[in-house]
Structures are given as C-alpha cells and as structure tokens.
C-alpha cells in the first residue's frame, strides 16, 4: 500500500513574500491581485487580519482599516521560487515528487525507511527543511493524496493517518474538504449532510443513482479511496530565485545586499539535492524598461554562497548596470559533484569540493584569466603565454614516471626517462669561466636550468651604442653599462596575422648585476626588455 506525504503551506502567497522579504514578519501585510488601489486582497497576515483586513477587500479599503498596512502585489516569480523550494524539500527525501499549482507538494514515502526510523521522523524532517527554506509548512501523511492533503490542512504541523484508519479519520471532518463543486455542496446540504461520515453512511448505489458519476467519485473519496497517481515533477535543470522591487536600486552595495539573500536561498536549495553551481545567470530588470543579462561561468563548481557572491560583486563592479534595478532573478545551473577515486600509490591532492571552492574564490579575487595552470602557448612568439583551467589529474604510476629533469644533484644519476645526462665534476655545465665553483660553497652543487623572470608587459628601454655595439642601457627598473653581450637572434613571425612581430634579441649583462633579455622591435625601432635571468 502506498504512503503519500503532503507538504502544504498556509497562506502560500504571503509565505512566499515573507521568504523574499523577511523583514515583513510581524507587521500587517496584505497581498493583492494587482498593483492599483482597487485590486482585491487575496490573503493577509494575522496582524492584518486582527486589524479587520479580509480577502476580497480592495487595497484602498484595507488601507483605510489599517494605516500601517503594507500592501504588496502578488509576485509570480516569488511564488514560483517558493513552490520550487518546497518541491526541492520533498525532492531531498524522495525522487517521486508532484508539485501542484497552488503550491501543495506530494511525495512518495516509499523507501524513506532508509532515511528515517518512522513516519513521524520523516514529517519532522520535512518541516525542519521547509523552515530552513523560509517556508512554514504543514505535513500530512496518508495512504493517498487526498488523505495526505486533508491531514496536512487540518492536522496542524504534522499529522499522520495510520494505514487502515482513513475512514475513521475522515468521518468527523466537514464534507467541503472533499472539494465538491458549489452545486453539489448545496445538494448535500439540502440532504442534511455536513460531515464526511454522513456521506459514507449512505448506500453508495443510492448516492450514485441520484448524483451520477460525480456522486460515485465523491463517495469513494469520502471513504479515503483516491486512485489518482502522482504526477512526478521532472528533474530541474536550473534553480531560480527572484524578487521584485518597489523602487529602483542605483548603487551596487544595496544590490549586493539583495543578491546575497537570493544566492543564499539558491545555494540552500542546491544543497538539498547535493548539487553545486556550475553557472550563474543574473537577470536584472531595469528601471524604464530593458533587461541586463549576465552569465557567469564558474571556473570550478561550488556550493558556497560567499564565493558566488564574490564573483557577482567582481562582475557588477566591473560592469555596473546601466540604470536602476527594479527586479532581480538569479538562476543557478546545477552540476553533480562526483566523488574522486584516490590513488593508492600517490599523495592525495586537495578534496575536489575544497579545490573547486578554492578555485572559485581565487577567480573571484583575481579574475578568471589570472587563475589556472600555465600552458605552453601554440606560438613562436617568445612572450606568448597561455593559461588553462586547473584540473587535478592522476599522476603517472611510480614505475613508469619520469624523474625530475630540471633539478638534479651532481652525484645523482637521473632516471632513464629524463634524457638529460648527469653532469660530472669534471664537466660542469658551463663552457666558459663560470664553471668554477664558488669557494664559499660547502656542499655539492645544484645544477638546474636558468629561469627567466618576465616583465609583462615589456618595459621600454633607452639603449646607447658605441661604435656599433651596445654600450649602455637605461630603463625604469634597470640601468648600467653593458658588461657582456650575446646576440642578436632575429625572430619574426605572425606575418600572416594582424599583429606580426620582428625582433632582434640580446642577452646582456649590465653593470647593475642583472642579466636581461632585451630586444629591438624591427617595426617600431624601440628597445624593450621582457625578462631578467634569475
């Protein structure tokens, strides 16, 4: 026998609004079906109800009754977000979830025994998770959708109808809970039927004979028999949180304040499914018409609200909205973070989740083009650089790996994969006078390839020549007489592209002690330095 749970939120439009604007808690609030003074009130807060505000009044009438009344039009986006959040709460327990138009959510409890010890625990868990999402929900559990829904509406926070006791539970309840139409209610009232038990007591055949198929269906429902199946909600491909504003926001700080709420709610919904955010889309409705669409591809999927907000802040500060903002919608594209199989023979790298969050933080801090793994550019241009996304890959197995080929000690014999023979004491790598070891060195020398510190972008130089030879170099961070010189090496390329280069490179040792790589641009005849050997 199936067991169905129902999540129901009383005064759903009001709860959806309070979820978006929590500062409205505890004050008189009315939701209207429109924006003008004659729009009817569709629901109101208990404080407004105490002041005499009732559904059906116009906004002007409600304001006349309560001077401090806050009137808000029904926000479709806030309602959608609240409905989906409630469905996400159910989806965190069961894969079979139905979401109705009025915000009521049903879920199949089959298999929940693995998560909860009892149905009471399940209901408590659902209530707690809904509260965490900013929704005060009531939960009912029964053998059918009808019983579960009635239990949720009439039973307080949590109501569980045990298997087989549906008829006894429904009997004292008013017959209007079965949702008959107005004509049928009038007919039943004329028969003197007020409670569900009164209808069940009548012979089913006689009721069907008088009321037709509608009556037969009503009797079945009165007995707790509901064969309507769950119409499962498809898996969401994006999660949306939105809010509308009464006034335009011109500055970024208050905009970020609102964005933080939306992002926090989005992240908490993603967490219900164990998702991380792969892409963030922000849609800003601008004052005076128009929209500002932004799509932020996150370098490493993350579920941290602070990281996403930092990315948003960086993006907004770089490109502020053209006009005031009167509506915000944040969409998160989810991705499942898969666990990684660790290598048995290699050191563990960072946890994938921690690494993803770290990469996202670094991107927010420095920019997406300034974080990654360096890559050899597919260009012969000496100062070309490339950067790729940082992905942790498994290292080669120890039995097939290469030894470090950039650093080796003199007495070490590099492994076969290195390809660089180990230098001997008698054959130091320097061909010239520099092969002499410093007399102050006390241990075996370290041999490595010389590294270049790049100046990015290259710095302009003044170069003075004497008798056709470079004699003196002066620049912003260097300067001195040329002590030694190697070159020139002429490089040219990209002549087929828009930015060709033709350069004469020199390696120069200056009297300031530095060894620099300088070049003369053949097109502009300018001297530049693009690196120092260090």
């Amino acid at each position: 026998m199936a067991r169905i749970a129902c999540l129901w939120v009383c005064r759903f439009p009001l709860t959806a609004l309070l979820r978006v604007e929590p500062e409205l808690h505890g004050i008189p609030v009315a939701i209207t079906d429109g924006c003008n003074a004659r729009s009817p009130v569709i629901t109101q807060s208990p404080e407004a109800q105490d002041a005499g505000v009732q559904p059906g009044m116009t906004a002007a009438q409600a304001r006349a009754l309560c001077a401090t009344l806050v009137v808000r039009p029904r926000s479709v986006e806030a309602l959608d977000a609240a409905r989906n959040a409630l469905a996400d709460v159910a989806g965190s327990i069961s894969a079979r979830v139905e979401l109705t138009e009025d915000g009521t959510v049903f879920l199949d409890c089959a298999g929940s025994a693995a998560l909860c010890t009892s149905e009471a625990d399940l209901a408590t868990m659902l209530v707690a998770r809904a509260t965490h999402q900013g929704l005060t929900a009531c939960v009912g559990i029964g053998s059918s959708k009808l019983v579960a829904r009635i239990a949720a509406r009439e039973g307080g926070d949590v109501r569980i109808v045990p298997q087989g006791s549906e008829r006894a539970y429904l009997a004292p309840l008013p017959i209007t809970l079965l949702d008959p139409d107005a004509v049928l209610i009038a007919t039943l009232a004329s028969w003197g039927l007020r409670q569900i038990g009164d209808l069940v007591a009548l012979p089913a055949g006689a009721v069907t004979h008088r009321l037709g198929p509608t009556g037969a269906r009503l009797v079945r429902r009165a007995r707790g028999e509901d064969d309507e199946p769950l119409r499962c909600r498809p898996v969401l491909k994006s999660f949306v949180e939105a809010t509308e504003l009464d006034y335009a926001i011109e500055q970024i700080a208050p905009l970020l304040f609102l964005l933080r709420r939306l992002v926090d709610r989005l992240v908490s919904r993603l967490a219900l499914h164990g998702f991380t955010c792969d892409t963030l889309e922000v849609r800003l409705a601008l004052d005076g018409g128009g929209r500002d669409l932004r799509r932020l591809a996150i370098a490493a999927p993350t579920a941290e609200g602070k990281v996403l907000l930092a990315l948003l802040r960086a993006h907004l500060e770089r490109q502020p909205p053209a006009r005031g903002v009167i509506g915000i919608a944040v969409t998160g594209i989810p991705v499942c973070m898969r666990p990684k199989q660790l290598d048995l023979f290699r050191p563990n790298g960072p946890a994938p989740t921690a690494l993803a969050a770290t990469i996202a933080r670094l991107v927010a801090l420095c920019g997406s083009d300034r974080v990654g793994t360096p890559r050899l550019a597919e260009s012969h241009r000496p100062d070309a650089i490339a950067i790729a996304s940082f992905l942790v890959r498994s290292a080669p197995p120890p039995w097939g790996g290469a030894a470090p080929n950039g650093m080796y000690f003199q007495d070490d014999v590099p492994a076969g994969g290195c390809g660089t023979p180990a230098p001997r004491a008698s054959s130091m790598p320097f061909r010239g006078a520099a092969r002499t070891v410093s007399p102050r060195a006390e241990s075996l020398p370290i041999v490595a390839r010389v590294a270049l510190r790049a100046f990015r972008p290259p710095l302009s130089l003044e170069v003075f020549e004497n008798a056709g030879r470079l004699d003196y170099v002066r620049g912003p961070v260097l300067g001195g007489r040329v002590v030694h010189l190697a070159g020139p090496w002429r490089l040219h390329g990209d002549w087929w592209a828009a930015d060709p280069y033709a350069r004469e490179y020199y390696d120069v040792e200056l009297s300031d002690g530095g060894v620099y790589r300088i070049y003369r641009d053949a097109y502009t005849r300018r001297w530049l330095v693009d690196g120092v050997y260090d």
Binding site: P350, P429, R431
Partner: protein, 190 residues
C-alpha cells in the same frame, strides 16, 4: 613552515624556486605559484622541469590579493608547496602585515604544506631591509649570491650566454645551525 628566499637580481632565486617546484610536481604532488609580479614564464618554467599541469598559477593584482590567495590555497589542502613571489620591481615598497605571516604559517602547519616566499635582496642594513620579507616568521632564510655570469666567446663574433653561478647561503635556520652554503649552477637552455 615559512621559508624565505632572498637575493639580488640574477642571483638564481627564481631558478632555485623553479627547481624546487620541479622536484615537487615531478613527484606527483601539487604546487601553487602566487605570482604577484606576473613574472612566471611558462616556457622557461617547463624547461626547468616543472610539470605545468600540476602547478596552480595565480596572478593577483595587488599584495592584499596575493596574501589572500595564498591563504585560500593553503586552506584547500593538498598543495605540498605554495610559492609566494613578492619580488615586484615595479612595486618596491611592499609592506606585508605581520598578521598575514602568522595566518600563513598557521595555515601551512595545519595543512602540512610548505610556503616558499621569494623576496628581494635583504643584504643591506636592517633599516633598509625589504619590508616584504617574512622577518621573524621565517623558519628558514636562504640568500642567493651571484658568483659569476657565464658568457662564452665574448670576444668572438658569436658570444653565448651560458648561465649563472651562485652560492646559496643559509642565513637563518630554526631547526638547525645556520651558515651552511651550497653552489647553484643555473645553465641557460640549449
């Protein structure tokens, strides 16, 4: 543990740092390079033996971002070596707050990582010392001193830059006696 490498320009500091990164990445570990001056040259880094795909390269725009980036990387865990390059000739007067070093040292100890800070020369008097240096927070301080620059055939028609010969001095050592020295040959790529 914070290790600081200082030295004058062209004294082999970057070569030493790259060699250490090459040793770490070649053994399968991950390294991070926080590159404040944007000075890493991927082509030369590859030649020095760094396995580029195991190197996280971060190019912050200012000192504050660099220190924050280093903290983030350390907090992620799993990076055996975090290189923080603070030697920016175009920003010579960098002041690192002492609290930043404390946080970095603690994060490194917590995550079993090593921090290598590459700073400018500190051989001048104490009053002229570069304020970017880790100072008392450094457990090790290495100083590179250029011994000789090699040029072959300087008098001939086709001279070549051979490399740099340096001495690495252990100026400070909290876990042993200071004062040791080693030679470093930085050979130019063929």
């Amino acid at each position: 543990m914070v290790t600081e490498i200082v030295g004058a320009g062209s004294s082999g500091r970057t070569t030493l740092v790259c060699a250490l990164a090459a040793a770490v990445t070649s053994s399968g570990d991950l390294a991070a390079y926080i590159d404040l001056p944007d000075a890493l040259d991927p082509a030369h880094a590859s030649v020095t033996g760094i396995e580029l795909r195991r190197l996280l390269w971060v190019r912050p725009r200012d000192l504050r971002s660099a220190l924050q980036a280093a903290e983030h990387v350390l907090d992620a865990g799993g990076f055996s070596l975090v290189l923080v390059d603070l030697d920016d000739r175009r920003r010579p007067r960098l002041t690192v707050p002492a609290g930043a070093w404390v946080r970095l040292a603690r994060a490194a100890a917590r995550n079993r990582s090593a921090i290598l800070v590459l700073g400018a020369c500190s051989t001048a008097g104490a009053e002229d010392q570069d304020r970017s240096s880790a100072g008392t927070f450094a457990a090790l301080r290495l100083e590179t001193e250029r011994w000789r620059v090699g040029f072959t055939g300087s008098a001939g028609p086709c001279p070549l830059f051979d490399g740099i010969s340096s001495t690495i001095h252990l100026r400070k050592n909290r876990i042993g006696p200071p004062g040791a020295a080693a030679a470093l040959f930085a050979t130019a790529a063929a």
